[in-house]
Amino acid sequence: MMGDILIKVENISKLYRLGEVGTGTISHDLNRWWAKIRGKEDPFARIGEVNDRSIKGESDYVWALQDINFELRRGDVLGMIGKNGAGKSTLLKILSKITQPTTGEIKIKGRIASLLEVGTGFHPELSGRENIYLNGAILGMTKMGIKKRFDEIVDFAGVERYVDTPVKRYSSGMYVRLAFAVAAFLEPEILIIDEVLAVGDAEFQKKCLGKMKDVSDRDGRTIIFVSHSMPMIASLCRRAIILKNGRMIFDGTASAAVHHYQNAGKENTGFLNFIDDSRKPGDYLGELLQAWVEDMNGKMKSELLINEGFKVVIRYIVKDKTPLAPLPNFHFFDQFGQYIFVSSPLPDKITLGIPGEYLAECLIPANFFNVGYFSIGVALTFHHSGIHVSFYEQHGLNITITEDMDNSFARTSNHGGEIPGVVRPFLNWNTIKTK
């Protein structure tokens, strides 16, 4: 299904001035004005730097965004990911016409409504009813449009009883419900949403997510969605972009983007090696030498097939004679950083605190994990009355599990899309005809 292009973002950049506006401002303004009159370029634009908030820059000017390009078609749901300060908000602000780009152009077909915050323009003294009208109008609805949807809005928010009470007497939950409800009934072609779903109770969040899915699937609305919640991005969006220091570093499917984002900066995904390091992870009791993932033939790998078993291996040192039981353990996480499980050998199978070099293997059977991206934390703990942690490399190993479509006909033959879940074990089934 290819809709027509609704948004075209071309070479968008934004230059920001840092620091205080003070006595220097007028002289800069005058300089810029003088340059403009003579037809020269902005003298301060040239010294803009890449925006990395952790590095102190030389210049007072930074590029909050640089050369952003993308297109969205009707019905597209685009996720936007990035750390704080990566430029997400700036891009949203430019898209919603709150501030102007320094260079570039955005072409839009249809009406844009942005929800950078719920309840924008709510006045505490006004009643719920009055605020629905006011907020709706601020978001671009006409009075007639709001009137038509009024009952639906109140119903969706579930605040029927309080609709004529000033909103300052509302609980914060009610306030947010009402605010979101107004926004949910907007009918623009393009909707921009910034993390507003991070509020409200779980039930209401679910309702909102449902509404959003509805809106994009059924009505073919185009949505741009910014969130720090990777599961939300993955479940709502088909496509996602990643911003880093004002640049777009990734544009692809939502799950690939989430994986890329989660694993940014991690190399050697299937292998950890500290043998030659003078400072190894660990302490006076134990140190990590190596850890890796290998297939059943003993070949080191980070990409595995769903129907092959694999081993997670750790080499470590126990440095001192201790009465404690050293336990190597592996912690498994899914692509969203959600804990799946932790595994360690039984204490009686290991030698009690005798110094030396050890190697431990954990066998993961074939057909256990679902396809996807997983990370494995590698740790050594000593158990006595409490737990002593020698080292813990939280997302030390990263693996991808894929499915060979030709050879797994039996598993996917009757299934169109992705099979949900983090694990996908083969279980024994017994099916009989009873009637």
Binding site: S96, I98, Q100, P101, E105, I106, K107, G110, E125, G140
Partner: protein, 291 residues
């Protein structure tokens, strides 16, 4: 590349409803867009009234109390103590006429000049034509003026019918014109100041002082006739002067009226408005970066 040429042709063929780019005409007021948001404008006017007088005991009665209290103060201080001439017009109606007009102008100016500062959080989160905001302020002040004008008319009728010491003439029909000029003047000044306060907050401190100074430079507490000839041009240079004087002349029969100075006020007003639109439009686009 030959491909790119074709692409450009295609793009032109598509009709974008909107293009966001760094440069756009500074004189474009986008009135069509403002018109589309007219419901918002009226709701903002309503919010202004409801919110101002919620949780006050006297509520809308304050609309009447304000000018009455100011008039009493002026009568006591400028009339009785300082003994400033009122051109043989009864003091109460003389001051009330000035105050009614001046309140409209200064409220419009005051409120518009802090628009960006007051609404920074709103403007930072959602787009609507920013011009809606000052316009809604002008409209709500217009309604307030209407109410206070009724008060003025009541006093005026008393002096006209019972006392017979005010002498209205045909020029009172100019009142709507005067109101429009004042509205535009307040809007224009307000937009200039509001746009500049986003960057240079110093202006906010100057504003209260400036408005007060402007009031003394306008014949509110004194008639123009009491100004020595040498300084008259100075007071007449103030575009508000001929408005207040024309109003008094029409209703009270005393004051100064000339088509020339009224025309002068109109021209100045239009210039101020033009500058205001220019600066407002420029600042509107990027003020979120500096505010």
């Amino acid at each position: 590349m030959s491909d790119s040429k074709e692409n450009i042709g295609l793009e032109n063929a598509e009709n974008w409803t909107e293009v966001i780019s760094p440069s756009a005409s500074l004189f474009d007021l986008r009135l069509k867009e403002v018109w589309r948001y007219r419901d918002l404008m009226m709701l903002l006017v309503r919010r202004e009234f409801v919110a101002t007088y919620k949780q006050t005991i006297l509520g809308p009665i304050w609309f009447f109390l304000q000018p009455i209290l100011t008039t009493i103060t002026f009568v006591l201080i400028f009339g009785k103590i300082a003994r400033i001439s009122t051109d043989s017009v009864p003091m109460i109606i003389f001051y009330l006429a000035g105050i009614t007009l001046w309140n409209y102008f200064s409220d419009s100016l005051n409120r518009t000049s802090t628009i960006f500062k007051d609404n920074a959080s709103l403007f930072g989160k959602v787009y609507f034509p920013r011009l809606v905001m000052p316009l809604s302020i002008i409209i709500s002040n217009l309604i307030k003026l209407g109410i206070q004008f009724i008060l003025f008319l009541a006093f005026w009728l008393y002096f006209f019918l019972v006392k017979g010491n005010v002498h209205p003439n045909i020029f009172l029909l100019l009142t709507p014109v005067l109101v429009v000029i004042m509205g535009i003047l307040g809007l224009g000044f307000g937009m200039i100041i509001s746009a500049m306060t986003t960057k240079y907050r110093d202006l906010i401190f100057l504003l209260t002082f400036g408005i007060q100074l402007l009031m003394y430079a306008t014949p509110i507490i004194y008639p123009l006739s009491s100004i020595p000839l040498r300084y008259k041009w100075l007071v007449l240079a103030n575009p508000m002067t001929s408005i207040v004087e024309t109003f008094r002349f029409g209703f009270l029969g005393s004051g100064y009226f000339s088509w020339g100075s009224l025309l002068y006020s109109i021209i100045v007003t239009l210039i101020i408005m033009g500058i205001g639109i220019l600066i407002f439009n420029k600042v509107e686009r990027n003020f979120m970066d500096t505010v």
